[in-house]
Point group: D2
Chain length 270, copies 4
C-alpha cells in the first residue's frame, strides 16, 4: 500500500528494485530516479542504476567520471520538487507555514481549489495521513491529469479525490476542517468555502499581488470570516563555509502573501 509509514520501510533500509531514489550532488544538482535496469547519466558521467540494489540508503555511488552522488530515500518534498510545475510555484517556506498555521493533522478533511501541479495537494495529503482526505478542484482537465499522475508518483493517491469542476457555486463536500485556495481570483471561492467549512474551520489563501491580497481580505471579512493573519515570508539561504559565513547574494524576493482566516458563525447562531 502506498501509504505505509516511512518507519516501516526504514526497517528494510536497503535499496530495492523499483524504489525511487534521490541522487544528490549538491543543492542545485539532484534528481529522482527509479531503480531499474539502465544507466543514469549526469554531466559528470553515468552509473548503472541496478548497482544500487542491496545498498543502504544514505551511502553514495561513484559515476564513470568519478563524481560521487549521495543516494537518499526521497522525502515527499523531494518528489514534489521533481514535478513538472506549469503554474505558479509555492515554496516550502509558504507551504510549511500554511500547513502549520492551518493546524492540518491526521484525520482532517481538507478542500483545495486550484490543484495546479499537485504539489500543494501532496503536502496536504501528507499532513492528513493516514486517516484524513483531501478533495481537490481543478478546472483545466490537462492540469488535473498531470496533477493526478504527480500525486500518485509521490504516493498520496489514496488520500486524494480529484474534481474537474469549478466549485464557485459550491463544493461537493461539507464539514471540511480547512479550505486552501491557490488561484488567481481567490475571492470568488469565499462564499462556497464558508458553506463547506465547519464552524471555526480554517482557510488559507495564497496571492502573489497586493491587489489580490486586498480583494481576498475584503471578501473574507464580508463573507463571514475572521482574518487571523496576512503575512509574507522571506527566506535567505546562507553560505556556511567556516570563516566565510554570509547570506547568498541572490534570493527569491517574493512568492505569495499567505492569508489565514477562520469561519465565524453568524451572531444569531450562537
Amino acid at each position: 500500500m502506498a501509504l505505509q509509514s516511512r518507519r516501516v520501510s526504514a526497517l528494510s533500509r536497503e535499496i530495492k528494485l523499483g524504489d525511487r531514489v534521490l541522487l544528490y550532488q549538491d543543492v542545485r544538482r539532484k534528481w529522482i530516479a527509479k531503480v531499474e535496469p539502465g544507466r543514469f547519466h549526469t554531466h559528470r558521467g553515468y552509473f548503472e542504476l541496478a548497482e544500487l540494489v542491496g545498498r543502504e540508503y544514505g551511502g553514495s555511488i561513484r559515476t564513470s567520471m568519478g563524481q560521487n552522488l549521495a543516494v537518499f530515500k526521497p522525502r515527499a518534498l523531494d518528489i514534489v520538487e521533481s514535478f513538472d510545475r506549469p503554474t505558479q510555484i509555492l515554496y516550502p517556506k509558504d507551504i510549511g507555514y500554511a500547513l502549520f498555521q492551518l493546524g492540518i493533522g491526521n484525520g482532517d478533511r481538507v478542500l483545495e481549489v486550484g490543484t495546479g501541479s499537485g504539489a500543494l495537494t501532496s503536502a496536504l495529503a501528507r499532513g492528513v495521513a493516514p486517516d484524513g482526505q483531501v478533495f481537490t478542484y481543478e478546472m483545466r482537465p490537462e492540469f488535473l491529469r498531470a496533477a493526478r499522475a504527480n500525486v500518485d508518483k509521490a504516493g498520496f493517491g489514496p488520500l486524494v479525490t480529484f474534481h474537474n469542476e469549478d466549485p464557485t457555486e459550491g463544493f461537493e463536500e461539507k464539514e471540511a476542517d480547512a479550505v486552501v485556495v491557490d488561484l488567481g481570483d481567490p475571492w470568488r471561492m469565499v462564499a462556497a468555502a464558508w458553506r463547506a467549512l465547519i464552524g471555526g474551520g480554517l482557510l488559507a489563501g495564497f496571492t502573489p499581488t497586493i491587489n489580490q491580497l486586498e480583494k481576498l481580505a475584503v471578501a473574507l471579512r464580508e463573507g463571514g470570516f475572521m482574518i487571523l493573519e496576512a503575512v509574507e515570508l522571506l527566506m535567505r539561504e546562507f553560505k556556511t563555509e567556516a570563516g566565510k559565513i554570509r547570506p547568498e547574494t541572490r534570493m527569491i524576493g517574493h512568492t505569495a502573501y499567505v492569508t489565514i482566516a477562520r469561519k465565524l458563525l453568524p451572531a444569531s447562531d450562537v
Copy 2:
C-alpha cells in the same frame, strides 16, 4: 483517548463541559480556557464559561461589557502558544518550515534535544501522529516537568517519551528518522545524532547566533552529515484594511537560523 483525530471530534461540533476553547478577541488578545463552572474575565467584562456548553464552535459570546469574543476549537498551536515558555522561543515560521523540510510524517521516530517548554515537542508529535513517536531529552528537571505538563495539555502525551538526560554520549534510541536540536551548543550533539539516525536520516538545528550556525555547520560536515541548507526566515505581517494595505511597522527581525542536514554513510559502507 487524547489522540483521536480532529475529524472525529468535529462530528460533534458542540462545545462540551471540559473542552479547552480558544477565546479570540484579536490577534493580540486571545486565551485558552477550560469550559467549567466559573467566570472568564477580560479587561472588557466577563461571562460564565458554562454558557458555552451546547453552542457550536465558531460562534461568539458577549461579555458583561458587550465585548464579542469568537469561540474556536483551538488548533494544537493555539494551545502551544499558551505554554509558559521560559526558554528561547521558536516561531511558527521556523517550526513549520523545519517540519516540512524534515519531511516529518506519520510513523516517524524523531529525537529531540532541548525539550524546553515542549512547544516544538508538541509540533513534532502532531507531525508523527498517530503511529510515530517523539523521544525528547532535557537536562533540567524543572523544565522537563513543565514541558510534560504542557505536552499533556496539548493532547500529545501518548506520543512522547521524556528523558531527563544528556544524550551527548548517545541517545537511548536507534534507527531514528530525524533528530531535532534546539539548544545553545548543538555541535555537541552531532556525533550522537549521527549514530542514532538511519542512513540518510535528517537533522534540524536551530541557532540564534551566526557563530553557533558556523560551529554547527563545521561539526556537521566533520561529523558525516551533508548540509542541505542553512536559512533564516523573515516574516512580515500585513495590515489588510481596504485602501490602506501595508506591512506592520514593527516586526520580529530575528529568531534563529535553521540548518537541515542528512546523515551520510561512510564511502566504505556503500
Copy 3:
C-alpha cells in the same frame, strides 16, 4: 555664518560656549545639548555643561554618578533626530537612499512638498549646500513654524525658503532639478511637479501604503514621468559582541515605499 563647512570648524577642535554637542551614552540614550551655564541631567547623574568648554570633541565627560558620556560634534542627522516630529517619520535608510538616487548635489534647486518637521528639508539642504536652494511647501502653519525653527537649529536656514501654501495648482519656482513629495496624497502634486521640473528632472515620492504607491505610479505614468524604480528598504541592526553576532530581535518592518521618476518631455518637443 551658519553654512561654514565642518572642515573650518574642525580646525578649532575645541568645544566652545554656545556649541550644540551630542552627548552619547549608547544608541538609545543620546542627547543634543547647548553648552551654556547650567547642569545637564541624565538618569545616571548630572554634570555642569560649562565644564565642556575647552575640551576636545571626541572625549568623554563623567556624571555625578560616574556615568561616562561621549561628547561628539553632532552630525546634521543627530540634530535632525532631536526634532519633535509630529508627522510620519522617514528613516535615514529612506532619506539617504532617495538623496543618492536623486543625485542631489551642490547647487541644485529642490522643491519639497510636505515640510513636516523639517527633517527631510534639512537633509536636502545639506545635499545642495553651499550653492543650491530648497523650496519647501507646507499647508499647516503650525507645522511650518516648528519646521522653520528646526531647520534653523540644524544650521540650514539660509538654504531654505518656506512657503505656507498648497502647490497643487503650481509651484512658485520653475527650473527645479528635483521635487520631493512626502504627503498622504502625492498623486495630487504630479502635474505641478512636472511643470516645475527641468527636462529629465527627478521626483521622489514616499508612500507608506501600497495603495498610495499604486496611485502615485499611475499618476506619474499618466503625467509624463518615467518611473525609474519603486523600492522598499529593510534595515536590520546587528549585535556585534564577539562570539554572539546576530541580528537584533526586533526591527522596523516598514516605513515607506520610495518611488523615483524622471520628467519626460512630450515626443513633439524633441
Copy 4:
C-alpha cells in the same frame, strides 16, 4: 571646470557636442554615450549621436528600428554605474546610507581605503563638493589607473587625491573628518584610521561576511572607537503596474554589512 554645479549647466538645457548623455530604454537597458559624430547602436536599431545636439534634455530619440530612447542628463550615479567594476560591488542602498550616516558634507576631508573601481570614491567626492577633498588609497596599480579614469569621467577628478600605497602604517593625511574602508581585511586599517581622524571623526566599514563584521567590530572596540551601528540593508524592487502591484520575484539578497563608528579620545585626554 568639471565641478560646476548642475544648476549652472541646467541653465543651458540643450544637449551640446561633447556632452555625456544617458540613453534610457528601461531599467535594464540604459547606456552612457558621448555626443560626437558617429552612430549609437542598440539591439533595436541605431541613430546618429549628432542628431541630439540642440535638443532639450528629457526628450527622446527614435532609432532606425523605431525604438524610443529617453535622453537624460546623467546623474553622477548613472556614470558610476557605467564603470567597469572588477571588484566587490557596493549598491546605492549601501553607499547612500553610509554617506548619510557619516554626515558627509561640503568641505569634509575624507580618507578612503580600497579605491576599487572608483565608484565609492566618486560618491564621496560628490558629497564633499565643492570645498572638500577625498584621499583614496589603492595598493594595486592597475586598479588605481582604472579608478582614476573613472573618477575623471564622472567629473570628480579635481576633488580626489590618489595614493598607490598601503596605509596600514599610517595615512599621509591627518585631521580627517571620516575614513571609509572597503577591503577584505578592514580591521588592519583601524589603528591608522584612528590616528588620522579628528576626535569624534567617523569611520564606515563595508564587509560582505559575518566573520569580517565580527573582526572589524572587535578591532574597532579595542582600537578606541565607539560603534554606532552595524546594519544590513535589504532592498526590494516593486512592479508598479496598476492592479498588479507586487515585489519583484528576484532580489539581491546580500551585499555587505555596514558598520559606522566614531573615534573616541582616551579618557586622559578629556
